[in-house]
Each structure stands twice: as C-alpha cells, then as structure tokens.
C-alpha cells in the first residue's frame, strides 16, 4: 500500500476507529489470561517491630519477645526478617493503621506490631497485629494475658500464630525437644542422658541421671509422657516416663528381653496415646507387638522369620511402617495396624532403616545406607513416586518430625580423632535450611514434642 492510498483511506480509517472506540469498553473487557505455574521459595520478608511498652519493664519484655519471634521466624527458613535499621515508620500504637508505603518501600511483605502492658506484678498483656503491606489488610490480631515470667512462651505462641497465618500450616515454635546428651565419664565410660530444651535451645535441663544410659526417646501425643530405652543392670528395657510427675516404669517387665547385639525395644505411641507399638525379640527373631498401656497386654503383630523392627504409626493410627530384613537387606514396609497386609514401600539400593511416619500422613522419613554413605530421605507412604534424599553424610540416624511435618531433626555423625562426634541437625522437607540444633556438646536421638498447650 502506498502513501497516497494511505492518505486516501485516512477518513475511512478514522470513521472505523471511531466506531470501534464506541465498542471498545465492551471488547476491552475480554481479559488477557495469564497462567502462572511457577513460583519461588524465597523467604518472605517480614518486618517485626519491637513490641513497645509504656514503662521500662514492659519495653524490655517487648524487645525480648520481638527478638525471640525474629529468631524463630528466621530459623524456620520461610521468613526473612527485615533489618530494623531500615524501618522508616516508628510504631507506637498498634491501633493505628500503619503507613503501608513506608513498609512496602523496604520490601516488607508483612508487618508485625505489638504492645506489652504490665497490668500488675503477675499479669502481663501482649497484644499484636499482623498486617499485609500489599493488600493493606490486617491478617491477625491477638492478645495474650499471662504472667510476666512466661514471656518466652508467649513469644513462641506469637511466632506460631504468625507462622500459621502466613503459611497456612501449624507452627512448631511452642514445642520442646528431648534428646540424648552424650558425654564421657571417668574411665572413658560413655554417658548418655536424656535432656530436654525448648525448640530454640532455651531452658535446657536433664531428665535422667548419669548413672544409666538412656536413648531413643519418643513423645506421647499429649506431650506429657515419653518412652525411651534404658540400659540398667545390663539390660535394655523400654521405659515409660511421665514428664509431669517424674514417675518412671519399666514396660514389659516379664516380657521379651533383648538379646545381645539385637535391636533395642523402640516403642512408639499410637495417636490415641493408649497403646504402643514396639519391636522386641522373642524366640530368636525380632517381631512387632502392640502394647496396651491400660491392660498391660502385649499382642503380637508380626511373626516373620526375618527381623521386623522400628515400627511407627500413621497419624490416623490405621497403619504401621517398619523396617524388615524379610527381602534380604533392610527395607521399609507398611502394614495395617493389626499386622495384616504388609506391603513393601522402598525399592532402592542400600539398607533402609528408621522409618517414621509424617504427622501429615503422606510421607515416611527414613535413613539409608548405601556404599558407605548415609542418607536421610522421604518416600510416599503408599510406596508410589520416587524417594527424595534430603541430606547425605558420614552418618545419619534417628530422624524425627516437627509436629507440623515440615521440618526433620536427625542425628548426624561426623568423624573426629576420637571416633564419631554426634550432633542433632534440622533440615526442611525441601532439603533446605540445614542447621545444627543448639545443644551443648554431643547430642543424638532427637524427639520433637507436639505443640504444647
């Protein structure tokens, strides 16, 4: 088309366009459809202001609470607390809408503001609001009333509330971790004692004495009891330990003992808290048993000639995952809780051990030993899909889930001149955020409590 003809057509064009413009509003409504199927997993930037207070005491408590919340959220790997030095707006009233622009400009997606009020010596109020700086909406507003001594627990509860609101899943900050503190006594006798601490390492203390060895603790669903294996009088026995009263009792007194070189009696709770599933040796081989805590009865679940060990219930209590050498070297199996219908769920090379069912129900964590390496991995509980390896190292053992099923703790062994040094590490389900648990000295066998309430 030539310039000339273009000019000639210009009036026609204008008319057409005018016509089109009239219809434009309707036509323009046809949206451009955009599919977004990928996203990032970067930590979410969150601004956490110091919870302010009217007097010095409240102010100090507020700063402490903010510090613990900041550490919790950062350590989760899902949040990136913004450096307070970058804050523009100074918040001194949580009932005032923040100037969201001030927070967006420092890239804070969410803003946490709070206030501490000392009502009296024994009474403290902690109120906070969580804002979405993009939509400028309040996402959460809560107030806790408690005694000032409890500020740390309140900080964990605030962390849990924020975590749950921003991720959709339950938090895990107001929890405790029991583990085996490893030491060497006189004459090079190893000392293994149960110790407990808050999830973030605060408030550590010992649960058992140094006079006998304790290992493999497991929490009851109510967080009030644990089972563990104790070596006393040359005998390894499962114990039930009531954390509230301190009362301990040996389970299966007259029941199956443990032969030398055999597996421990690792007892785990049924989700109903009234039963245990346990592996024990009877007539030469290890089998799985169900132990009724009220009736004190032991019922045999498996009787395969091969060893069946390390049982763990599904969260609905309907099934049990365990490791067994029935196909040669140790592999993972799932059976009904009554012992029927065992199905193999691991098929890779190597020895699979230490399975634990995820609190979410969909996955089983395991350790695997192959060609001299140890791995921590997860596999679908129904055996479908590929296994995913989350960590690989010199030595890996005793995985434990966070109560929300998002983080795993495990014992990691590293070679040192005196043998192997044990420590507890956490890693998330994606294999990210590997960090060492803040225990003093060597530690192993972590057990993560349910949320405390």
């Amino acid at each position: 088309m030539t310039a000339f003809s273009a000019r000639r057509f210009a009036p026609v064009m204008a008319a057409l366009l005018a016509l089109a413009a009239l219809c434009a509003p309707a036509l323009a409504q046809a949206p451009l459809r955009v599919d977004v199927t990928e996203g990032h997993l970067d930590p979410m930037p969150v601004a956490i202001t110091d919870f302010f207070g009217a007097d010095g005491r409240a102010e100090a408590a507020g700063a402490d609470i903010s510090r613990v919340v900041t550490t919790n959220l950062r350590n989760s790997g899902l949040f990136a607390p913004v450096d307070p030095a970058a804050f523009i707006e100074e918040i001194d009233d949580i009932d005032l809408r923040p100037r969201f622009g001030d927070w967006r400009v420092i890239d804070a997606s969410a803003l946490l503001v709070g206030e501490v009020t000392m009502e009296s010596e024994e009474r403290m109020t902690v109120a906070f609001r969580l804002w979405d700086t993009a939509t400028e909406q309040q996402m959460l507003g809560l107030q806790f009333v408690t005694s000032p001594d409890n500020w740390r627990r309140i900080a964990h509860k605030v962390s849990d509330a924020v975590y749950e609101r921003l991720t959709g899943e339950e938090g895990y900050f107001d929890t405790r971790i029991i583990y085996v503190s490893e030491g060497i006594g006189p004459d090079n006798v190893p000392i293994r004692r149960l110790a407990v601490m808050d999830q973030d390492g605060a408030n550590p203390s010992f649960l058992t004495s140094r006079d006998y060895m304790a290992l493999l603790p497991n929490y009851a669903p109510n967080a009030q009891q644990i089972t563990y294996v104790s070596f006393r009088d040359g005998q390894a026995t499962s114990y039930l330990y009531d954390l509230e009263t301190g009362r301990q009792e040996a389970l299966f007194d007259s029941g199956p003992g443990l032969a030398e070189g055999g597996q421990s009696l690792s007892a785990r709770f049924h989700p109903n808290g009234r039963e245990l599933v346990v592996s024990a040796e009877r007539r030469g081989g290890h089998d799985l048993f169900r132990f009724d805590l009220r009736m004190r009865t032991l019922r045999q679940l498996t009787s395969h000639p091969a060893d069946d060990v390390e049982p763990s219930y599904s969260p609905d209590g309907e099934q049990v995952v365990f490791s067994s050498s029935r196909s040669g070297q140790s592999q993972l199996y799932v059976m009904n809780a009554d012992g029927s219908n065992p199905v193999r769920i691991s098929f890779g090379d190597g020895r699979y051990t230490a399975p634990v069912w995820s609190p979410r129900g969909d996955l089983v964590v395991f350790t695997k030993q192959h060609q001299g390496r140890f791995m921590l991995g997860v596999v679908d509980a129904d055996g479908s899909g590929e296994e995913r390896i989350l960590y690989e190292g010199y030595y890996v053992d005793t995985p434990a889930w966070s109560p929300n099923g998002r983080v795993l703790l495990f014992t990691r062994g590293d070679p040192n001149p005196n043998g192997t040094e044990y420590s507890i590490w956490s890693v998330d389900l994606a294999g990210f955020n590997l960090r060492r648990l803040p225990t003093q000295g060597a530690a192993s066998d972590p057990a993560w409590s349910p949320l405390i309430d």
Binding site: E38, G39, R129, S205, F206
Partner: protein, 278 residues
C-alpha cells in the same frame, strides 16, 4: 544404628554393672520436668474495624472512642478461647525450674545455630507455555488490511486510537497474545511465592483479576475471583494461596508490557497454580 547399639550395649553392660553395684534406683525417683503450664488468656483483636484510619494528625484523642483492643467480655471468663488450658494453671504458675542435677554441665541457653545452607531441590525454570488463545474476531472487517493501515498511520493518531489499533492487530494474530501472556506470566512469576510447601495433591489454583494503567501500574486493587470461597475456605492453604497470588500481582507492579497492545492487557486474568509446576 545396629553397630552403635552394639557398642552401646557393651558399654551399657559396664555401666549397668557399676550402677547395680552402687545403688538401687526406684523407678519413680527422677525429678519431673514440668511442662510449663502457661496461664494464657487469648483475646481476638478485632480487625480493621477498630483500627484508626491512619496517622492521627489532629490530636491524641485518648481512650474514649477507640477501644484499643476489643477487650473480650472478661479476660478471666474466656478460657475457651485461650490456647492454654488455664484452669489448673493458677497455682502452678511458677513451674519449678528443673535443676540440671546440681552439675556444672549446664547447657548454655542462648545457642547459636550454625547455618549451613545447602540448597538442594532446584526448581528448574519451565519455559512459559504460551497457550494460544485467539482474541475475538470481528467478522465483517478486513483486519489485516486495517491493522496494516493502522500501523502506518499510528504516529499521527492520538493514543486511544493507537491502543485500539493495537488491539485489533493483536486480535489478528494469536502470536502476540501468546507473547503478552508469556511476558505477563514471567513478570508475575518473579513475585509469586510457590505453594510447593503445601501438601501434595492439593488443588490450590486461584484466579486474580488485575486492572492495569497504560504505564503498567495497577489501576485498582486486584481482586480474587471467587474471593468468598477462598477467603472462607476451611483449608488454610487455600486462603494463603489466595493471599500469595494477590501479593504477587501487587508486588510485581508496575508491569512492563508493550504500550501498543495496552487494550489487550488492560485487564489480566491471572491464574496462579504453582502446584501444577511442581
């Protein structure tokens, strides 16, 4: 595990021997590790409704009209709402601090985690799959010819016309539509927090309507389609998916899209389904 146990067992035998020689341990002799019962009362803070509008320029008008926090009926009377079982808590408010058995092996309270970032699972970038979607055709017009004309005379025409022409032109070819889709998706994706942390097999697809200015800025706050269903979903992951999608389209504005095609992208319907990309 087994070799460690073997080792432990042998050590255990020794310890057991010593222990049994020393003293008999009554089963219930340990100090209890008291699980702290925190007497907590929980009160919901009312949301925006009792939050003051903005900077209170005028005056610090105290207490009266704005109850800072919706103080629930009576703090004491709300044990139900509390996450803590308050009842029995009162007397035990000071849980006996369990002494680490009078030994100097006190574990330091403020530990430093030793982060060892080890990125693993990498999400491999999937090239945006443009889904050709023909724009509505207008039958009676020779669009090709027209758009050609429009193209040439674009410089002389006011903006509105340009845009309209662009719309027509893009309507003529799905390639441009696909390009725009890919351009927009690529930009929004950068700000989208994946829902890959939600349980597998959960349908968390949400759709956001986004209205844009010619300069790529949002012309109004984006809206979730079926917002009520998402916001009130019993599935918290669904609610979070909705929020993440909204946040993504807000965070990534302004959008860099060809101005000539403004008419085509002034309204976006963004379907966010990061579960699909897993």
């Amino acid at each position: 595990m087994r070799q460690v146990l073997g080792l432990l067992l042998s050590a255990g035998l020794h310890v057991g021997l010593v222990a049994s020689a020393l003293i008999y341990f009554p089963a219930a002799s340990r100090i209890a590790e008291d699980i702290n019962v925190v007497p907590v009362e929980l009160v919901m803070l009312a949301d925006n409704t009792n939050v003051r509008a903005a900077r209170r320029e005028p005056e610090p008008e105290p207490v009266e009209d704005e109850p800072p926090v919706e103080t629930a009926p009576e703090p004491e009377a709300a044990p139900e709402a509390a996450p803590e079982a308050a009842p029995e808590a009162a007397p035990e408010a000071a849980p006996e601090p369990v002494q680490p058995e009078a030994e100097p092996e006190v574990i330091p309270p403020e530990p430093q985690a030793e982060p060892e970032p080890e990125p693993a699972a990498e999400a491999e970038p999937v090239p945006p799959e443009p889904e050709p979607e023909p724009a509505p055709q207008r039958p009676a017009l020779d669009l090709d010819g027209l758009s050609d004309l429009v193209d040439r005379s674009r410089e002389q025409r006011p903006e509105g016309e340009q845009a309209e022409a662009a719309r027509q032109r893009s309507g003529a070819g799905t390639a441009m539509t696909a390009t725009l889709q890919a351009l927009a998706a690529g930009q929004i994706q950068r700000c989208t927090r994946s829902n890959a942390d939600a349980p597998v097999n959960m349908d968390l697809a949400v759709t956001v309507e986004v209205r844009l200015e010619r300069n790529g800025q949002l012309s109004e706050p984006p809206r979730l389609k079926n917002a009520a269903r998402i916001v009130n979903s019993p599935n918290p992951f669904m609610r979070v998916a909705g929020e993440r999608a909204l946040r993504a389209v807000i965070d990534c504005a302004p959008y860099d899209l060809p101005a000539a095609n403004y008419a085509e992208w002034r309204l976006l319907e963004v379907n966010v389904d990061t579960q699909r990309g897993r």
